[in-house]
């Protein structure tokens, strides 16, 4: 995973609530067996509308998505995170993310930032009025900054440490392999096994 320290970029305001992962990347894209090449599937249905915000020339090259509440609901597909990253997004801001989407994003280095809805509204107003306005998402300082707006955000210290250092979860877990082996040695005999009977 690529480390995330701070990022500054132009933004896309997405004024919709409950953007589910079927909207972020429709199911037929899930047949791919790689982690890349999903950028054209991002918001595929909505992008057919030339008025959709992502299709506007002034949003080209934007890297921060400022989304409505309950972003990433529904299916657990990690492809939704890959699609956002493949398209070029580095961070997503919302007042509330679905749990699985949030977990997936942080495991891939896509920073999902939770801010109060009124701050999200202010950021959306700002970037709607001025498409050139930049937003800084600073993980070291745990702060989002834009013209006239400074807002602190929370992220648990462990997740932050892993992101700042780009650490791979599996390697961290395997440092405690002894604990896993010990737990396994004490599991009750009645626990289910998948071996064919």
């Amino acid at each position: 995973m690529e480390a995330f320290t701070a990022h500054t970029g132009r933004a896309v305001p997405l004024r919709r609530s409950n953007v589910d992962t079927d909207q972020i990347i429709p199911a037929h894209w899930l047949k791919k067996v790689t982690r890349d090449g999903f950028e054209d599937g991002l918001f595929e249905a909505w992008r057919k509308d030339p008025e959709f915000v992502l299709n506007k020339a002034e949003r080209e090259g934007a890297t921060v998505l400022v989304a409505g509440p309950d972003f990433g609901t529904g299916s657990s597909r990690e492809h939704a995170v890959w699609a956002l990253q493949n398209y070029g997004f580095k961070a997503v801001v919302s007042s509330r993310f679905a749990d699985i989407f949030r977990g997936n994003s942080l495991k891939n280095g896509l920073l999902t930032v939770v801010l109060d809805q009124k701050v999200v509204d202010a950021l959306q107003d700002l970037v709607e009025n001025d498409p050139q306005a930049e937003i800084t998402v600073d993980l070291e300082a745990r702060e989002v900054r834009a013209e006239g707006i400074t807002a602190a955000f929370e992220l648990d210290e462990n997740a932050r440490w892993r992101l700042l250092n780009g650490l791979d979860d599996i390697s961290i877990t395997l440092q405690n392999e002894g604990d896993i082996a010990e737990y396994e040695s004490k599991r009750p005999a009645f626990k289910p096994q998948t071996v064919q009977i």
Binding site: P26, T73, S76, N104, T173, R187
Partner: protein, 476 residues
Amino acid sequence: MGRTLAEKVWDDHVVRRAEGEPDLLFIDLHLLHEVTSPQAFDGLRQTGRQVRRLDLTIATEDHNTPTLDIDKPIADPVSRAQLETLRKNCADFGVRLHSLGDVEQGVVHVVGPQLGLTQPGTTVVCGDSHTSTHGAFGALAFGIGTSQVEHVLATQTLPLARPRTMAITVEGELPDAVTAKDLILAIIAKIGTGGGQGYILEYRGSAIEKLSMEARMTICNMSIEAGARAGMIAPDETTFAYLEGRAHAPKGEDWDAAVAYWKTLKSDDDAEFDAEVVIDAAALSPFVTWGTNPGQGSPLSAQVPDPASYEDASERLAAEKALEYMGLTAGQPLRDIKVDTVFVGSCTNGRIEDLRAAAEIVGGRKVADGVRMLVVPGSARVGLQAVSEGLDKVFKEAGAEWRHAGCSMCLGMNPDQLAPGERSASTSNRNFEGRQGKGGRTHLVSPQVAAATAVLGHLASPADLSDTDARTPAGV
């Protein structure tokens, strides 16, 4: 202080707990399917890792599989390649796989319980959000992303922050016509699609205790649609009776030891939940969705709501967009909504009791002109059971299509899809835009409402059927 059911199961699986770190939890059962596993197996290959516990891992094919002509090569080359990738990965790494055509093949969340692998007090994960289904057994079961699939394959554990707990207490008696599906749709409409976010839900109360295992699975299945990763129901005699004798259920002394443990798995009387919602079962009626998220639902007897009636601006906007997408008008009675397609199936309502319920209603009746009804068993075994009971004949005589097991029309990854603008009454779990096919419009319903809707051609409950509109002899 006492502990909740979720806390007990959690505590029993902590491999490592350290200050400032998420708990490392042991995973008892890892279910795999073709869609969310290929990149995880690739990760293992790149790092030279193996599957740590093949004896706790099992795979099936479900999302991409066609429900017709399953003996022929899969027509869509991309779907075929994904299934072939799963087959190769399972062969290379030694994972037990049930492929299309195998008697144990089916939707992953139907297969686990039916084999007796899903047991009380276990941790169950799968790269699929509807893993919450398995919580019906008092298991802690949740959907994970592909990075976590790789993590579980490599370590049989997951680092996780402990969620809060919410009690959903359903007291009283469900009216005759009201099913588990109506209940869960009503719960989601009440607490919202984000209401369960950060929580493990525990469904309890006298109305829950009376439900069969299959009905409990329907409830827990849709916990994710309320934003919760997991939903649980304390195991009881109904649970034990369902499990006893299944292929992978404990036997002999192991059974006795297991049941003794399972009986400890309930929330203590003095356990404290972080939140509680109370539902009066007697006040419920058949429930359907009108919008594009599962929280946008109303009793079937109601009208399409007016977006202007929502105080919250983002909810108002969401309702406006939903009505536009769904092609509905505020104030229109829900019963007036005509459908093109009826789908009975999925991990929510594709089990034998669901098929029996639908068959009882369409039996001796006819699917309305211009309506296509698909009946898709959740697993090959459910299909065989239905055939042994003659349900396939009942459906076929009514004019419905009887199919092979799979995810089918729950999501647009296989040939069973809605065409743009087509409208369905569906027993599945998601009414998202395009979920059942690009431009398709979905109303989530129970199997009973689905069957009555198929007969009348518009959203309806069995109570709307009269003796005259049907019960015509087969072939007339």
